[in-house]
Symmetry: C2
Subunit: 407 residues, 2 copies
């Protein structure tokens, strides 16, 4: 049935009914890997809706291959193929999430744009396979308040790992959790070394092949910061209970320590298809994607070290915003999205990313995080970040934080 | 309440009724550590019975400290203190296991002598905290046939780890398990290097402080072999599904791989009080023994490598006996006990241990493993091993296996 691995569905006896799946952000890295999972297990999944931002050609090809009746294209400008319904406009993903005949909605939209789709999925009573961590960073209280028990299945590899580990441990027995990070391409470098980093260097991730935004976030360790906030909301950890540990081999994804000193560890080949298929097929486990397995006997060496938050200031900024709470995490995320976008476009130096985020956070007056409040703050933070970047330019040296937060 | 750790029982709200515990083999390494656990959590446990082999003085001191009404001394030759009942003779541990007012019986007897106590505990409907792995090696089918669901709680650190990990994974999702071993004091040595190993060298274990018999077994890797057989019976793995991996740091104790390639890992400080207290208090987790915790951020390096079964032949012999089944594992265990005893007494060279075990296995004619059969085979194997050792002497070079199995 599947030639992508050697442990096919026949392990599971009679095949269950296929799971109906909507994939939001289907042309991105997570979206295309989700479709690989569907392709490898055609009897297990039925794709009922797909959305993309602007890559209409890929979306149409996917729709044709998987015979998908409902499509969304945020950027618009495309005709619906015969026999399909096409939604366009900025709310396309949210509208498709709501309308799709799907029991599971995979939200793989990039950035805070995924928040409305997250809320629409939960409102519609569908299971949310959540790859869009920014939904939780920007509006964690709101999202979790609307989520029923088990309604959210994390897709981030670290959160999928925590989710799997925490299933077997009583909440009052958990002392703390750790998420690992590879440390990215600049692990071991000093701040001085990073002055001239270019886009190509930042996109050369040593372990994971991912989209450009998250790859830059991985290189700055902002991604770990966002993950800490995501873990806080998903699992109820305080920020003192979640640590980050640098583990360059990318084999271990998360750890949970219990009150007696035992530590439960989740390891897996670094392949996003694994958490994706688990979120789609849960509680079933399908075969190993690509037949990939860890060989512990010859694995050699696993190393663990603390993160360098002096060099990788984004992680410290994320903890700071997280602890401040309210709309600070939304500001952190929005400012970071704009700063990373500017870096990718050549409009901001690499070390400008934390500087911009810090200045926007410093200027923020927090409000209670209602949906309207979050959207307003998100827009404000993007405007602030853009203005700072415009006045600063791509190669301007870092402004001393002592000089204040005004622009 | 407890000064042995900084996470006392108050974590658990109202204290539950104390668990009544009988400790068989209370003067040995596991037994004394079990009493440390009781000492650290006096409101959680009540010791109702203790047994020892020959160390009557220590047994009496323990009985006095913990106010224990029922005692057993296998070797006999002691008077019962006022207000206590004393059982003696070779069946003392089994009789105490049956008679004790205990909900949990910790079987920490060393060697196949613990089998009768294991069976008596199960027959009496009590929960068995099993540190005596030889019960399962010698008579795994018998023991498991008499055990109800959840009636056996493993105490070996690797099996406690597997037990904890497997609670959260559906059996049909498990692909294989790995138990780790430190590799012992002779890791990295060649067979030639081990010709002149003396008792002191074999007892210098790099990670665990344990009794002499298990410490020698750790140095030969026979202990891992016995653990593989124990895991087979406890958890139903085939021998192709259980591997041994050498992990010198002693931090990771066991791993379970699921069908999708995920690996669940159990790590903990190497302290036997942790699996002991978990087996006694399950499903509760008490505070970390001695306040010991792993610090992952500064843990540095964990290494994993395959075992060298050419140098450490005992592991290969154990797999061989395990796969042959029937009474072969009982023979393996009995021959090994005699050989290790002879090595500790200076009557057998270190490399003679696998030679003796191999020759007794070769000479064995298997029978169906009834209790009588196992006891008979056990006695036969001990006689064979003793005779081989007597004719061979402490420094006789290894006999080429090609020369046959007759003595």
């Amino acid at each position: 049935m599947s030639d992508i691995d050697d442990y096919g569905d026949d392990l599971f006896g009679d095949a269950p009914e296929p799971v109906s799946v909507a994939i939001l952000g289907s042309t991105g890295s997570i979206g295309t890997q989700a479709l690989e999972v569907v392709r490898a297990h055609p009897d297990r999944f039925k794709v009922t809706a797909l959305t993309a931002h602007s890559d209409g050609d890929t979306l149409l090809a996917q729709a044709k291959e998987f015979d998908v009746p409902l499509l969304g294209l945020t950027a618009g400008g495309m005709e619906a193929p015969a026999g399909t319904t096409l939604v366009d406009g900025s709310m396309a993903s949210a509208e498709v999430a709501e309308a799709a005949e799907a029991s599971v909605v995979l939200n793989a939209v990039v950035g805070a744009a995924g928040l409305q789709a997250t809320l629409a999925t939960l409102r519609a009573g569908k299971t949310l396979a959540l790859a869009n961590k920014e939904s939780l960073v920007a509006a964690g209280e709101l999202v979790m308040a609307k989520a029923g028990p088990g309604q959210i299945r994390p897709v981030d590899s670290e959160h999928s790992a925590l989710w799997q580990l925490l299933h077997s441990i009583a909440p009052d027995q958990v002392r703390r959790a750790l998420v690992t990070g590879s440390g990215g391409p600049f692990r071991g470098r000093t701040r001085e070394d990073l002055g001239n980093v270019d886009v190509q260097q930042a996109l050369a991730h040593p372990v994971w092949a991912m989209g450009p935004k998250i790859t830059v976030d991985s290189s700055t360790l902002m991604n770990k910061g966002l993950e800490v906030i995501e873990a806080h909301f998903l699992f109820g950890f305080t920020y003192d209970e979640i640590d980050v540990v640098i583990h360059p081999q990318g084999t271990v994804h998360a750890l949970v320590e219990t009150v007696d000193g035992a530590v439960f560890v989740h390891a897996a080949p670094p392949d996003m298809r694994l958490p994706i298929q688990l979120a789609l097929a849960w509680p079933d486990r399908l075969g190993a994607p690509g037949g990939k397995r860890l060989d512990w006997a010859t694995l050699g060496t696993l190393t663990f070290e603390p993160p360098d938050t002096d060099t990788f200031r984004c992680l410290a900024l994320a903890y700071q915003a997280a602890r401040l709470g309210d709309t600070y995490p939304a500001v952190l995320n929005a400012a970071n999205e704009v700063a990373v976008g500017a870096f990718l476009d050549g409009r901001l130096a690499y070390l400008g990313i934390p500087d911009v985020v810090e200045r926007v956070l410093d200027a923020h007056e927090p409000i209670a995080p209602s949906l309207e409040g979050v959207l307003e703050v998100d827009a404000w933070a993007r405007g602030q970040a853009s203005a700072i970047i415009a006045t600063r330019g791509p190669s301007r040296p870092r402004i001393d934080p002592g000089s204040g937060a005004t622009r």
